[in-house]
């Protein structure tokens, strides 16, 4: 296991495991009666980010911001319109890294634990399925599957021959995690993997994920709408809004000093768990705008408290700040036309 890991690593620890460049995905809307498309949903609109080796990158944002589309694009479950996905220095789908060998190294766990398992396969057959596709003999694959069941905390003698409907949600999600591990991947994309679970079960699965990460030297992309959970598991966090990245950087720094007005609003909508310190004013009003016709300029300008006329015209670029956090907001862009009115609005430098 450790040997195969070493031979898998191409560029050493400094090279990002996953590098996403200029990724764009537009979904065409329903066509009209002569076959013309009536518009596009800009689900993911020109995003760049890196996932470092061994880290957990949390991805947050409201529904419709493109989190799940990004996950599916990374996994090549959807075709991208533009952009490049580079896995450990090799372009995914290129000659160096054909799709099949990429998929051996990158796996995904979905939110709906029941829908993502084949109801007609026993648990061990489900876990052993993909190794067999990649040429592992059946007996060895089953043996490995039973091994993995132990690792995810399920007794093989009790569970291996059961079917998905005989298990609880938490147990099924453990099966999905075991299946993702079956090919000894380096990257696992977790798309709302714990969101459907009860709190006490969620804690069990989160602990399991952290243990497995250490044991198998994994890298996670962890997508969730639960900001508390993201803070708990992530090393770095990426905040998305209407198909774009608005802020990315170290997790604790971001939770303590969010820069982008959207990140600030998002973080202050977390319930406080303190009965004497309840929220009095909603930090954001209204729902996110429609990604079919996103607002011009900065996409957040329609809900932003610091909005100025210039925000409607110029689209801010993601710019790295002195402490390494990157923010896409004109307030933090040097020489932008944004007028800093008071000390309070001054960027933290």
């Amino acid at each position: 296991m450790t040997d195969s890991k070493k031979s898998n690593d191409q560029g050493g620890p400094a090279q990002p495991l996953l590098s996403v460049k200029g990724l764009i995905k537009h979904f065409a809307l329903q066509k009209d009666f002569i076959g013309r498309s009536t518009g596009v949903v800009r689900a993911v609109d020109d995003i760049d980010f890196d996932v470092r080796k061994g880290e957990t990158l949390g991805v947050v944002g409201e529904s419709g911001c493109g989190k799940s589309t990004t996950a599916r694009l990374i996994m090549n479950l959807l075709d991208r319109n533009e952009g490049e996905i580079i896995f450990d220095g090799m372009s995914v789908g290129g000659n160096d890294l054909p799709l099949k060998s990429f998929r051996r190294q990158a796996q995904m766990v979905f939110q709906d634990s029941y829908a993502s398992l084949n109801p007609r396969l026993t648990i061990e057959d489900s876990i052993a399925f993909s190794p067999q596709v990649h040429g592992v003999p059946k007996r060895e694959a089953i043996e490995r599957a039973r091994d993995l069941l132990v690792r995810v905390g399920l007794e093989p003698r009790r569970f291996a021959e059961r079917y998905p409907h005989e298990l609880s949600g938490g147990q099924r999600q453990r099966i999905n995690i075991a299946r993702a591990l079956a090919l000894q991947p380096r990257l696992i994309v977790l798309d709302e993997a714990v969101s459907a679970l009860d709190k006490s079960v969620e804690a069990q699965v989160l602990n399991l994920l952290l243990d497995l990460k250490e044991e198998f030297e994994l890298t996670y992309v962890f997508i969730s709408h639960d900001l508390n959970v993201v803070r708990y598991v992530s090393d770095r966090v990426m905040v998305m809004y209407l198909g774009q990245v608005v802020e990315i950087g170290d997790c604790e720094t971001m939770f303590k000093t969010p820069r982008h007005p959207y990140t600030k609003a998002l973080l202050s909508s977390i319930p406080s768990l303190d009965p004497d310190n309840r929220t009095e004013e909603p930090p954001l009003t209204g729902d996110p705008p429609n990604p079919i016709n996103p607002p011009s300029g900065c996409r957040f300008h329609t809900r932003c408290v610091h909005v100025q006329p210039v925000c409607k015209e110029i689209m801010p670029k993601l710019i790295e700040q002195p402490d390494g956090q990157s923010v896409a907001c004109l307030m933090f862009e040097p020489k932008s036309a944004y007028q800093h009115k008071s000390i309070l609005l001054e960027p933290v430098l």
Binding site: K199, A203, L206, N228, Y232, E252, L273
Partner: protein
């Protein structure tokens, strides 16, 4: 339930409610001996995991369970009348009038083939003898009340044309159509984003303050409960295992289940790398409950007696009660 409350301002009084479903091979006792009192203008949050009986308790107040497969025992007094004794006609008049309900998924709860405005007007005309124009004016006022932007245009919208947060506001205005005294909310913010969830929670709190509504609010999210509730009732395996004012429950939980539940929630103050405390095992099978305390198998403070003695309700002070044999009542 607070003993200080006089009998006059008690709006809901649930005594020894049990609900058994006879659908599968074995009868399932989803709610087992629940006592709960709600005074006028009070917000109570029922929290618990899936299958703990919180939604079943809530639906019992409107008697929404399929009558042929459900056995309900005990009593549910709402404004002095026992819901369980009502005839079908009485229930029709009662539902939506004195008590109304909002659901987790407004897209399923609203009718897709009528505009939202028509549905609200229908609800008003069902309970009051006024003209359609008057009802429409009321619907518009309700939309303004729940702060739906450009309300006149939105009245003519179909449910699928609205966003999730807007649909939830529309459903709240539908629930408020005939001036209920009690609003039942079944996970009203679970399907919403954090930014929209807090807006809806604040709206509920504002309506409760301004209209003097009582609210029973079912959620599995402790954070949401703390934001709106005056009191919290924690349910486990069909029973209320602890109930009290929100501050006591959060700061001074008594029942081992409540304590474990609060510890298992990841929140801001958690240091990285520390493990979350978990509750081992899973909730018991309601068709096959063990003798004694149903939490015993998962409890960190379990004793031999816990598996034999059925825990009774213990009053820790005038407002705070719990069901655990290791707790000592105050005199």
């Amino acid at each position: 339930m607070s003993e200080m409350a006089t009998t006059t301002d008690i709006l809901v009084d649930i005594q020894n409610l049990s609900v058994t479903f006879n659908a599968g091979k074995k009868p399932v006792r989803a709610v087992d001996g629940v006592n709960l009192r709600v005074t006028s203008g009070e917000v109570i949050a029922l929290i618990g995991e899936s299958g703990s009986g919180k939604s079943v308790t809530l639906r019992s107040i409107l008697k929404l369970h399929p009558p042929r497969r459900t056995v309900m025992q005990g009593s549910i007094n709402v404004a002095g009348r026992d819901v369980l004794q009502m005839s079908a006609d009485e229930l029709d008049a009662f539902r939506g009038n004195d008590v109304s309900m909002i659901f987790q998924e407004p897209l399923l709860a609203l009718d897709p083939v009528y505009t939202v405005g028509d549905q609200i007007i229908e609800a008003i005309l069902r309970h009051e003898k006024i003209s359609r124009a008057q009802a429409k004016a009321r619907a518009l006022a309700l939309f303004e009340r729940v702060r739906i932007p450009s309300p006149e245009r939105r009245l003519n919208a179909y449910p699928h044309e609205m966003s999730g947060g807007m649909r939830q506001r529309a459903m709240i205005s539908l629930a408020l159509a005939s001036h209920p005294k009690l609003l039942l909310a079944d996970e009203p913010t679970t399907a919403l984003d954090a930014t929209v969830q807090i807006q809806i929670l604040l709206l509920l709190r504002e309506l409760q303050r301004e209209l003097g509504l009582s609210v029973i609010f079912v959620t599995h999210d402790i954070g949401a409960a703390v934001e709106v509730a005056d009191r919290i009732a924690v349910m486990y395996a069909g029973r209320i295992v602890e109930e009290g004012p929100v501050r006591s429950i959060i700061r001074d939980p008594a029942h081992p289940y409540t304590k474990a539940l609060l510890r298992s929630v990841a929140h801001g103050s958690f240091a990285k790398g520390t493990r979350l405390e978990t509750i081992a095992g899973s909730p018991p099978d309601l068709a096959n409950l063990p003798p004694g305390c149903s939490f015993a198998d998962r409890c960190g403070e379990v004793t031999d007696q816990c598996r034999e003695i059925d825990p009774k309700e213990v009053w820790l002070n005038k407002q705070h009660r719990a069901r655990c044999i290791r707790l000592v009542p105050v005199n």
